[in-house]
Amino acid sequence: MEHFVDLIGITKTFGRELILDNINLYIDKNEFVTLLGPSGCGKTTTLRIIGGFEQPTSGELRMDGENMLSVPPHKRKVNTVFQKYALFPNMNVRDNIAFSLNLKKEKTAVIDKKIKNMLRLVNLDGYEKRTTTSLSGGQQQRVAIARALISEPKLLLLDEPLGALDLKLRLDMQLELKNIQKELGITFVYVTHDQGEALSMSDTIVVMNAGKILQIGKPKDIYDEPKNAFVAKFIGESNLTDGTMLSDFAVNFAGMDFECVDKGFEPNQAIDIVIRPEDIVITSPADGKLRGVVKNVTFKGVHYEMLVDAHGFLWKIHSTVLSPEGTEVGLTIAPDLIHVMKRDESSIA
């Protein structure tokens, strides 16, 4: 099947610096794709290339099978919610949002109706006449979202669109955006720092670091099967340690041999081990594979986070059952919850 958007071997250098290194990514119609990665990894640059504000040094960009690189930004059927909002200071909220419709010479009555709906959607009822400078950061951000959405583009690029909102509003807007995306059938390319946001909203997550794509996958797959230690660390919390693959289905770490579900490594190959905090089970000291002492307990709302000192490593464990500080405990880990990963030195930031 033909993809909606194709990034093929996109490379970008600024001066001598390699900013994007051979980015290959396809996006399907109606897909919600999230670019996730640390600051400076090239997320905004990727969006700018799709939007037409930056030309890649090499590579191809296709949309509906057509070469996009020679198409100027105003002719691309792509709208952007900019990281810094970029509202027009010479226009009020209404005229900002109406900008694209005014260009298309839509009737005022139609525009007014659409704007009313849009403002309701972003929770800014009655803000039509306000100047953009009189809005808070979060309100400006929502105006930027409304402005980009109103013309119902085929593809919407959102660069950390909820960054300036408080937690409550952010969760509301996450739901709203997700609903809008599904209802209007718009393809979203979404940039965020927030892995929770990425996990809950996306169909596909693209984990980037230092200009490279490290892993592309469904949220659950990326969470459960991180390709390397960087991805594991970046998505969700994890215990990360090094170990040795003994043979197929047998691994050694923390000075002990464990059963696991991985195979196909060289005997005695050095590997990275990732274990999620909720996958370690606390038992009585006698029943545990590892034995240690609870050093620290923090209440996190739904669960407790306990740090257990065992076999020279501080294990982070999430559990709804409290083991108080100072208790001696045992730890067990199910074989399929031990994630064995090839060591990839270059990806460890």
Binding site: G51, G52, F53, P72, P73, H74, V78, N79, T80, F82, K84, A86, L87, F88, P89, N90, M91, N92, R94, D95, F99, S100, L103, K104, T108, E128, K129, R130, T131, T133, S134, R147, A148, S151
Partner: protein
């Protein structure tokens, strides 16, 4: 407390400076314009008075000179704007070479104002550079010197930088992402310019217009040199009253009239800046933003 005190102390010299060099001379001029110790409105009346009974208002000699000054200043300002805006735009746009272009542009400014204007004398005069140049192509010689045109050329040449620089500054500092947002929403180059770039550069245009119009309407040097003295502007009138005739009272009255007129015109221009950019925007929307 200490900071406040320090601030006050530092404000005093500035206040003193302001008073000695700006407020005091103004007060003295106003005082003279009302006849000094013997209060009279005679000097103002003289400015507006007809030469003969029933002379139409705008043909009265001083009024006519004032109108002519305004007319030439407006023409020069318009030409400066028409030439200056694209220049400022180009300077701001091709910012990679900006330092060099800007340098080229500013070099003439380092030369004395009088010298620069004298240079035009040699260009425009009967056997001057311009006619020599036209002669090369077999074109008829022009007789520009000592005409309105020469005065306008002199003003445009001398004041163009004051139009270009404020516009250039505004354009250069304009947030590029705003332009990108407009493109993103489907605006082509012309639309981006008309709907975003130009409206946002209006404050620069207003500064530029002010800085060209004001010296333009008060100049006497340019009209003296290039207008040959026969083309009298209100600046020349004031200069004459002070330096040749020695009538400080009448000179002051004219200066005050000119000042009031300029203030009034500047006020009018400033109104543009506060107009909502879109006809549909009503005033109440601006709310507290109206200052």
């Amino acid at each position: 407390m200490r900071v406040a005190l320090l601030k006050r102390i530092f404000v005093y010299p500035y206040g003193l400076w302001l008073f000695i060099f700006i407020v005091a001379p103004l007060l003295i001029i106003v005082w003279f314009s009302f006849g000094g110790t013997d209060f009279t409105l005679y000097h103002y009346a003289r400015f507006f008075s007809p030469l003969y009974e029933g002379q139409p208002f705008f043909q009265r000699i001083y009024i006519a000179v004032l109108m002519r000054s305004i007319y030439l200043a407006v023409i020069s300002t318009v030409i400066c704007f028409v030439l200056g805006y694209p220049l400022a735009y180009a300077l701001a746009k091709f910012y990679s070479h900006k330092s060099f272009l800007l340098f080229l542009f500013l070099v003439p400014l380092w030369m004395n104002f009088l010298l620069r204007t004298y240079a035009w004398l040699t260009i425009l005069e009967q056997n001057g550079v311009l006619n020599a140049f036209l002669g090369v192509f077999g074109l008829p010689a022009t007789d520009l010197l000592f005409t309105d045109m020469a005065v306008v050329i002199g003003m445009v040449y001398n004041f163009l930088p004051f139009m270009v620089l404020p516009i250039y500054t505004v354009l250069r500092d304009m947030d590029k992402s705003i332009v990108e947002a407009a493109q993103d929403l489907g605006a082509n180059k012309v639309q981006v310019f008309l709907k975003i770039v130009f409206p946002l550069s209006v404050p620069g245009v207003i500064s530029g217009v002010t800085m060209v119009f004001m010296p333009g309407v008060t100049t006497f040097v340019i009209s003296n040199l290039l207008g040959g003295g026969q083309f009298i502007l209100v600046g020349n009138l004031i200069e004459q009253q002070f330096l040749r005739v020695g009538d400080w009272y009448f000179g002051s009255a004219m200066a005050v009239i000119l000042m009031v007129l300029i203030l009034f015109m500047m006020g009018l221009i400033k109104l543009f800046d506060r107009q909502p950019k879109d006809g549909r925007t009503d005033k109440t929307a601006e709310g507290g933003a109206l200052y």
